[in-house]
Amino acid sequence: MEFYEVINKRRSIRQFVDREIPREVLERILDAGLKAPSSNHQRRWELVTLTDKNIIMELAKFIRPYPCRIGEPKTPQQEMFKIAYPRQRTMMEEAACVILPYFKQKYPLSEDKNGYGLMDYGAAWALVENMLLAATAEGLGSVVHIPVKKEPEQIKDFLKVPDGWALPALVVLGYAVKDPLLPTQVKATVENKVHWNKW
């Protein structure tokens, strides 16, 4: 697929059909992720890739759907909350694949005094975005779940991940249902977000 078509097509998809993703498709997505830049040129990433439905279902138990009391959404953000909050667990249960891209965390964010902690964390997001775009190019739906509260520790224990590795997001992949729920986009364009030469 043409690059800009991929950019324009990517949306967060939270409803998937029950269909496996061919191994070679997943490998192309993972490979695209691993081509992302890393802050120290080391690409110190380890991608735990779950395709076993039983393991995905077990993992999903750690993800709590957020409560959402929005009746009639009044803003695009409320539309998103209404779609996304109740589906944090089900989108994982429906997924054909969940990728957990761990990065080696040399400078923990909790003790970050010089900004170095953001280098590895930020680079890991380039890895995540490359995979979201590659999934789009492959005709897949994708979404991320950012682990919060107790989730990082619980997932780490569940998957027996060694110490010193951090998880920026869970990348959730699958074939989208027909007409998945999509919130209205917030306008973010060159006209309303860019300051030329000074703020």
């Binding site: 697929m1 043409e2 690059f3 800009y4 991929v6 950019i7 324009n8 990517r10 967060s12 192309r28 695209a32 081509k35 830049p37 695009p76 953000q77 539309e79 998103m80 909350f81 975005e129 490359n130 979201l132 775009l133 590659a134 190019a137 991320v144 950012i146 919130p183 917030v186 973010a188 364009t189 060159v190 977000k193 860019v194 300051h195 030329w196 030469n197 000074k198 703020w199």
Partner: protein, 69 residues
């Protein structure tokens, strides 16, 4: 360009020629950046783009002074 070709081709560049860049292409790149997901759906981002030489000099004066000190 085809998506996977873009992925394969991307490398970090740190040396540049004096050639002026196509401004419309810059705008397309920024617009592509704006299509990225944001956790709260609001894309609460603002970009400052340094294009004019004197603005770049002004913005990087501190870094330059530190580098040559």
């Amino acid at each position: 360009m085809e998506f996977h070709e873009v992925i394969e081709k991307r490398r970090t560049s740190r040396e540049w020629t004096d050639k002026e860049v196509d401004f419309e292409a810059i705008k397309r790149r920024i617009a592509a950046g704006m299509k990225a997901p944001s956790w709260d759906h609001c894309r609460g981002w603002q970009l400052i783009v340094l294009h004019e030489r004197e603005e770049k000099e002004r913005a990087f004066a501190y870094a330059k002074a530190a580098a040559t000190a």
